[in-house]
Subunit: 463 residues, 4 copies
């Protein structure tokens, strides 16, 4: 069930329901309650509390039962959410088992609950991000394979340069997605840790038992136990943010490409169409690239939010003032936007409409200049590199000025006739002969991915 109270008007456009759920107010509270319950279990496990208290904790640890709006109002006074939540939790535990109340939050500080609860949310959220990447990667792998040899114009500085294949473009996307998956594995190792230090990180209330209880708590939550609490050392959360920033950057790069390809004058690829998708309030013919718009919006919004997380790292002494607070809404926002961007990317690749004939036509258009480099290369044997370049440059200028294709300019030139037969010219100006290693690069990207996949599976088998 989605917590409707956290659904903003444009959430359906900008994010996914699953990610909204993971960062719903209810789940934020649940994360904290999960921490408190696990702490109670750790106290029991280490002999600090009688086992009998747990029933009261278990009953009181369902976020659904709490009045979220009231907690929000009280948090405004207290300055954090844990204080009113703990008050309420204590009352509920006490209501079932008076003695149990003494163990609520024992030895912990507000930030222990808030941060660890957030880590639990991050664990789920990173899993969701990874699943989205896997889905996109699978689709891209299929597309890269399918279009390994589909000719199209390569474009640099927004102008046609030399031919590529569509598969090469997809392989570039795929390889970036794969790098992000590797990063997710690394940062999970960094961030999936418990926060537990008590008021100033000494676990003083627990006396000598602190480390043992901390270990039991971490085990309970299936999180790693760092050697020291990290109340005012926020690199773990900031790293999650920046990794999501990298992912959204890739999504933005792809969306920019897709939206450029779907321009009226280019018309090589289009976002999937669906009834009502991308309509216009006034122009019946419009099919706006909604997915690209959302992704590009995320790629505009997320980098500054990452900067917020980095700037917020400057936290004072044992627990900071303001910096910590700046994280609370920012990190979820980054997850929400990243999830929305990946969702739209997934939709795009699931139904991308590709017009191979328009790709070929565009490649032949623009005075056929996309083969200039190919021509210059062929000419090198006759004119040397520098000479070839100069002739190619002159011919391409002539082509533009006279409205001919470069091929025709070459065909008409007496000197070129001496160098090249008509068959030579056909060969030179066939983009299939100037896509170099495109197909083998696609194969290499796919092979590297397959190798990682099988390594990962065998790794799973072992662990």
């Amino acid at each position: 069930m989605t917590n409707e109270a956290t659904t903003r008007l444009l959430d359906p456009l900008f994010t996914t329901e699953a990610m909204r759920e993971f960062f719903s107010d209810r789940r934020t509270l649940q994360g904290m309650l999960d921490f408190e319950l696990a702490l109670a279990r750790a106290l029991v496990a280490t002999g600090q509390a009688p086992a009998g208290v747990l029933t009261a904790f278990e009953q009181a640890s369902k976020a659904d039962a709490y009045d979220i709006a009231a907690l929000g109002r009280d948090a405004a006074l207290a300055g954090n959410l844990a204080i009113p939540l703990l008050k309420e939790l204590t009352a509920r535990v006490a209501a079932s088992n008076k003695d149990a109340a003494a163990f609520v939050h024992f030895g912990a500080t507000s930030q222990d609950a808030i941060d660890t609860g957030r880590v639990l949310q991050i664990r789920d959220a990173l899993q969701l991000i990874d699943e989205a990447l896997v889905k996109i990667g699978d689709r891209l792998a299929a597309l890269a394979q399918e279009h390994s040899a589909t000719e199209m114009a390569g474009r640099t500085w927004l102008q046609q340069a030399s031919p590529i294949t569509l598969g090469l473009k997809f392989a570039g996307y795929l390889d970036a997605i794969e790098r992000h998956r590797a990063r997710l594995t690394e940062i999970r190792g960094h961030v999936l840790v418990v926060q537990f230090g008590g008021s100033v990180g000494t676990l003083a209330v627990l006396g000598a038992k602190g480390p043992e209880i901390a270990a039991a708590l971490a085990k309970e939550l299936q999180l790693a136990l760092p050697p020291i609490s990290w109340h005012s050392h926020r690199d773990r959360f900031a790293e999650v943010a920046s990794t999501l920033g990298l992912i959204v950057g890739t999504a933005g790069k792809i969306a920019r490409d897709v939206s450029l390809l779907s321009q009226t004058e280019v018309a090589e690829a289009f976002e999937p169409s669906a009834p009502s998708r991308g309509g216009s309030s006034t122009m019946p013919h419009k099919r706006n690239p909604v997915g690209s718009a959302v992704i590009l919006s995320a790629a505009t919004r997320v980098p500054p939010l990452v900067a917020t997380m980095l700037a917020a790292m400057v936290q004072e002494h044992e627990r900071g003032l303001g910096g910590w607070h700046a994280e609370w809404e920012t990190l979820p926002e980054i997850f929400l936007l990243a999830s929305g961007a990946l969702y739209h990317l997934s939709v795009i690749f699931d139904g991308l409409a590709i017009d191979k004939s328009k790709m070929a036509a565009n490649l032949a258009g623009g005075n056929g200049l996309a083969l200039t480099e190919a021509f210059a290369l062929a000419l090198t044997q006759h004119e040397g590199r520098d000479g070839a370049r100069k002739i190619a440059e002159a011919f391409s200028r002539t082509a533009v000025e006279t409205g001919q294709s470069l091929r025709d300019v070459v065909l008409k030139d007496p000197q070129m006739k001496k160098y090249f037969s008509a068959d030579d010219i056909d060969h030179i100006f066939n983009p299939k002969h100037f896509n170099g290693s495109a197909e083998s690069i696609v194969a290499a990207v796919l092979a590297a991915r397959a190798a990682r996949k099988s390594a990962s599976k065998s790794g799973e088998g072992k662990s």
Copy 2:
């Protein structure tokens, strides 16, 4: 009535209910409906539509009657909110008056409604910001007056430097607040304009009547009419964002000061205390500076959000892809955070607890070095400027190393005894004699404010 669907868990902490209301989903819709109603009226006023259609429009223009969640879901498909809203509005208008439906949104484009609706929200929101600034300014003016001569340490680079008065500090805050008010006046002149261009800014659907209808529309909404629509020129909204960024920057500066003054070891000023305010989950003695935390959090979050608005200005052709979308949640977020920051600033100054005796004690503490510059100045007549500086430096080092006050070091020095009588020394080391023009500067700031106020009143009278 607050739109509960837009109240996030921590909104009560980070923003104000009034601002939340202005940027609630309901008010966002209402802004668009107000645009559509005004357009219908403009069509009537210019003879393009019969007056009889207006009743249907008026009935259909209450946002409360719309299913916000459903519109949000449909916006996800359409890519913007106007499309589903217009569909629904048209149906409602048609239900009361079939002929009226033809005039819904006539000549306009989605962005006309969305942007103008946002301008209407901004108008209310800027008013709220200005009222908050006035309230803070009034309080600061009183405080500056009251403490014009209250001695305290001036601190530079986080160290005691020379004496100031508390009034001077407040006057500095006040003057910044006043500058922001002047900015608000300026940007209102920039941003309170209608957006109306039709699909590509030509008002083509309206034929030759476009400009006349546009003028009627602007009049209806009491907004200015710019000479050209600004669908992909976003400087107006970005300027609102950056002006709020400046305001939050000042709030952050003040909150940093307040939080530093309330450190345990400084203890010169404290946020107002109230039951449950700033409590700790584990430490009964804690009175956390909640207001400062919220403000500093805003001062961390808003600058990157301003960067988002600036970066989003790069919008393509007649209406952009992604940049426009990036604004939708960002600008409201900035208003929400700014409003929350100003609210907490207001609370702080309403109840700031000031400990004048601790100010005096701190000024005398730190080996009394805050009077070093005063001493060096007095010594100049005897030793020249460079000599005085060197002696003052040596004496201050001695004071620190021997744990004496600088005054005592001076008193014990035979050469100084020749230069200065005991009365001289008393005079030199009395901070009251080394706060220079503090009091007249406070007076000047207050006078400048009073002059602006009276000019503004007489200006109001005239216009």
Copy 3:
């Protein structure tokens, strides 16, 4: 003379020589020396120092004579540039006039010199920015006039929408440039003020004479005198930064347009070509849009730098730690990038190559769907608005699917034949008949500009 020591490798690409000069190390020093000289003159003017000291100051106040690298090294130890500069200045003044040395920096603090020096640089730099805007505005006004009726496709969400004129596009650029000029006028009124407060803002060293000397200083520098110093209130500088951010945002928007128009498949407008401009290391035919690249780079870099200036506003007490330092290189960087962006914009508009026939051809291409809205409007009288929209949508789909123009689809439809004569169809599908108020909007923008110009001239005459 440009200070070569501050010319970085890519400065010629990213900025202008004039702006580099204004923010050269030498000019930074000169600004501080100008402050110190003006202060000496103010001391003389107010009878605090004998007139005879000025010669020594004047001789010592040439930045060229200082060893910049050595000052930089000493600043690393001192923490700011003023300290080593003042040491050296004092020595030089003393060398010519021993008594004069006592008046060096009298009553001032390092930050007074550094900030006021910066204000002097800003004054020059804003003038340069304004001149660039005027130049661009003049050119845009001419272009808007010339192309007031030049038909081209209006594009929204990166797709053809309905026709506009090229003049309308230029008028949109122009109006934004004009808004920025108005902003420059406003912020000059805010930022061109002296910084003078002494160590903690009290002018204590000057005793009761402080305000009088401050007034003389401001007069000397032709800067306004604010009622209070602003050592730790940085809104003025941050506002300069954010205003430049707005300007660069507009430049980025325009560069995005230009680069999209010059895509191989669009080919409607091109940056001016020149030998070696925008060449490729390998592709002889490439003419890369260098100007757009530089401007878009600036539009990516400047927004976060503005965020830095805003974030740096949180400065502690009477003079801050770190925030102030964060401004030193950031504000000049923003000016440098803004100047470079405007320079390239100016170059682009000075030589923009416009292909009107390609504009017409593109407008007719894309299955001629850019006239769909025009067709739907015409059809409304027969089918009502909703019916017309549905038919237009269906026809435009047919056009795409069958590879025909929309016009041909309409021409072939029996029902349409009943509604429209061939002449009607010609009329409907002539983009000249569907650019609405484009020409009158262009005229309005130009008229508004002319009115401002003449108001500004008559204003100058009066003042």
Copy 4:
């Protein structure tokens, strides 16, 4: 030799000479020349070029011999640095060996040289960053050990909370530094790769030999060979930026702490003093924390620069327009600032002056409230948790209001006398008895570090 042309006035303050050297203009050129030389060697190694050409390449590949300013000027026209550099390189190679010139840059594109050259700079720069982290880590480990039991106040929300030890604070810093070192190892694996794709990533000019030559090139440069070139996929560089952002964030956190500890009223720790270090232009007693100022400045400036790198990831098609250019100066700037921040951190810890007695005094000050939690814990056995909390809260309020220490309030209370003997009270209010696991946590952090070190050494031995 530092390239003076790239030394800006404040470089000595904000960065290190070593890092400046790594990103000097000369080294930027050298990186590109190293790429070109390695490519020539790869062509020879794969039989594409005769071995005899290499001498000419070797002779022409010294950046010192090039006219940097002239290249910068030509880059302004060409749009990138590679074009003029290659022109000059070709001329130089040709001058020694006419035939060799044909192999210059063969098969490569400008971006291959620029990006790979940058990777080579990054390799050196990351090594420098890592060495700085090692140095700081070593020092922190010693400090943590030494002060494992040094009592001081733990502070949360800028107020005294409960006792910690100074060693715990240092251990927190150390653990963060260690995490950053682990990140550096990870990102080296990501970023130390060759860029080689030719004009559009197909290596078309090299025909079927492309991959073989690419492998030889990578081997020559001792960089990894990715399966596909990454001209418009910039996650590798953006990740370097964000990792540096994390490091600077930690540095900023520490600098904030140090600057707070060195406030006049706190006076527990001070940056090392040295002649002229942190002096004031007017206040002889000032010892400004220059290192903290520089670090905090970096912590303000770097996060937005990271945002720039992330935002710049949205690059078009095969090679982007503007995004790539935005990286050129931004990534070096981040390295420069990070290096400067770590340098100052290193200086601070090398000479940090620690006043243990002031730490003890401050802990006892503030009405001794830092032991409130300890007292409440002790009281729990008598009053239950809730009761104890309430009494502690009331007593701490009394202490503040009456100006007594909490200890004295407790001592005087009749009920407390019943609960606690004077010895009990002594025990409770001795901070040594309420620092919990501080010492064992310090030991755990040091042990974890030692384990990693020995694992890393044994790993080195193996590889």
